[in-house]
């Protein structure tokens, strides 16, 4: 009985010291959970910014309304992403800090009419004219494009850049048995495709056409499916190359339909980013990968028009642009309808004040308050044409 207390105390001590690392691990996990959530949100906001700017400065050299197509400026996407990731971790977006962020972004892909995947390149050291140690990729470029070896713009040791932009190409034969190549797209509602027929042009050159109906077995859904498959293959291959020493990270696939778990499909143009080993604010690198996509959807413009009935009644309406044949209306083929303007969204169309409407009497017009709260001059507003919009 005399030795019972020491033994019990010893056992309690052992239990206590066994639980200490467990508690430390618990605390660490709670901190990691916060940092993980922070990384997810930072990534989401950065990708959103990159996509926004990539589209705003996109390389659009064709009629977007006809092809219903978008294109990213890959350089702007990468630069904006790096800047916002730096801002999200309270860093000034210098070249060094941007590269720091990009080095932790193991893969980024941009997909629209084709796709591009980031690559990381390491340069060899060299000693510049002023004795600075640098690498060829970090050399200073003069405005005329020549390299000044005596100055160094960055010496981070590596450079992340977007690889070659690869268009989605689907190969098949047309009705005449000739080989044709169709340039695909991730957009599901594409109504026109670029088709290349080798040796069918003048002088044996390739014949490039914009077609609305696809030849042979090629269907719009097949074009989209194969485009996604090509991007998946390239992305998975790059993923394997990065992780060839770590078999724990397995295959990555982009779902092309909603999965049982509710994962959204990758079926529209967008930017996908994969971050791994992020250890800027944590005691150990975050092991889990954050995967964020940003989807681009086609904007439905709003057409505002004035309709005069045979009895002379005047109405101001708005409807979606694709619900009214604007070309015919502009050519005067719809009697009594005059197209006034095309607005980017419904809100803008509804808030426009038609000040010079002489058709309505004053008591039928609105007098909305101005910025100072005083009633403004009588005016009209465009109203939704429900008969058209509800179609």
């Amino acid at each position: 009985m005399r030795f019972l207390y020491p033994i019990a105390a010893l056992i309690a001590c052992i239990i206590f010291f066994m639980f200490l690392p467990l508690f430390a691990d618990y605390c660490d996990n709670i901190d990691m959970d916060f940092q993980q959530y922070k990384l997810d949100k930072s990534l989401e906001l950065s990708v959103r910014a990159a996509t926004f700017n990539g589209l705003a400065h996109g390389l659009v050299s064709f009629d977007r309304s006809e092809l219903k197509e978008v294109e990213f400026n890959t350089g702007v996407v990468l630069n904006t992403y790096a800047q916002f990731m730096a801002f999200n971790y309270n860093m000034i977006p210098t070249d060094h800090n941007k590269e720091l962020m990009l080095n932790r972004t193991v893969l980024m892909t941009i997909g629209a009419r084709g796709f591009s995947i980031t690559q990381n390149e390491y340069g060899e050291y060299y000693v510049a004219g002023n004795g600075t140690l640098s690498r060829p990729k970090g050399a200073f470029y003069r405005p005329d494009g020549t390299v000044d070896r005596t100055q160094v713009s960055a010496n981070t040791g590596s450079r992340t850049f977007m690889g070659v932009y690869t268009p989605f190409i689907v190969k098949d034969t047309d009705n005449d048995g000739r080989e044709v190549y169709v340039i695909g797209s991730l957009l599901p509602n594409v109504s026109a495709f670029t088709m290349i027929t080798p040796n069918a042009g003048a002088g044996g050159k390739p014949l490039v056409q914009v077609v609305t109906s696809l030849p042979g077995d090629i269907t719009p859904s097949r074009v989209q499916h194969e485009a996604l498959a090509q991007m998946t293959r390239a992305f998975t291959q790059a993923w394997y190359q990065l992780n060839n020493k770590n078999s724990e990270n397995g295959r990555l696939t982009f779902p092309n339909s909603i999965t049982n778990l509710g994962v959204s499909p990758v079926a529209d143009p967008g930017v996908l980013v994969l971050v791994d080993g992020f250890n800027l604010e944590t005691t150990r690198p975050l092991r889990s990968s954050a995967f964020t996509g940003y989807k681009v959807v086609a904007c439905r413009e709003i057409v505002a028009y004035t309709e005069t009935s045979p009895s002379g009644a005047v109405s101001h309406w708005y409807a979606y642009r694709d619900q009214i044949d604007v070309d015919k209306a502009l050519a005067g083929q719809f009697p009594g309808i005059q197209i006034d303007y095309i607005y980017p969204d419904m809100h803008t169309a509804a808030t426009v004040k038609i000040k010079n409407c002489t058709h309505h009497k004053h008591d039928e017009k609105c007098t909305c308050p101005d910025a100072n709260g005083n009633p403004s001059l009588p005016h009209c507003h465009y109203q939704p044409n429900l008969e058209v919009i509800m179609r």
Binding site: R2, Y5, P6, A8, A9, A12, C13, I15, F16, F19, F23, A24, Y26, C27, I30, D31, D33, F34, Y37, K38, K41, S42, L45, S46, R48, A49, F52, N53, A56, H57, N73, G75, V76, N79, T80, Q83, F84, F87, N88, Y89, N90, I92, P93, P143, D144, G145, E281
Partner: protein, 152 residues
């Protein structure tokens, strides 16, 4: 003598395991929830600015209040990131750069494509928390994080 030491040790261990440990775990959970709530407030604020492209004094006051209503005392700074576009005349390469504008008046003039950055920093750390953070390591230190998003 051995009995007395054993009894004292047992009482200390009982206190540690039955009183202090649950308190510490409860504190950690409360702290984690507060941190997550503040992060959520910041995310909501950035989303709001993105959608409305404007910030009013009422928005800012409400945001400061919301951030400080989760048990932690935090200093919140909102900055505008001004977007500029430069095109290289030789290569026609487009470069988009963001510059931080610390002036509070700049917050009322967001342009589409500008950015908004929120810096959150915990202030007024109690001595007991400092002790837990610096000596015991059971605290994750003062909360400090930044989030930035695009407007438009």
């Amino acid at each position: 003598m051995v009995d007395t030491i054993s009894k004292i040790l047992s009482i200390v261990l009982i206190f540690l395991m039955l009183v202090l440990a649950p308190l510490l775990i409860s504190y950690k959970i409360d702290d984690a929830v507060a941190r997550r709530e503040i992060l959520f407030e910041v995310t909501q604020f950035i989303d709001k600015v993105r959608d409305t492209q404007s910030v009013t004094d009422t928005d800012l006051d409400q945001f400061y209040q919301n951030c400080n209503s989760h048990g932690l005392t935090v200093d919140v700074r909102v900055r505008r990131l001004v977007k500029t576009v430069v095109i290289d005349p030789h290569t026609e390469e487009v470069t988009v750069e963001y510059t931080i504008n610390d002036d509070p008046a700049a917050l009322y003039n967001f342009n589409k494509g500008d950015g908004v950055q929120v810096v959150v920093e915990e202030i007024g750390i109690s001595p007991s928390r400092s002790f837990m953070y610096r000596v015991l390591g059971a605290d994750s230190g003062p909360l400090k994080f930044t989030l930035a998003g695009i407007v438009g």
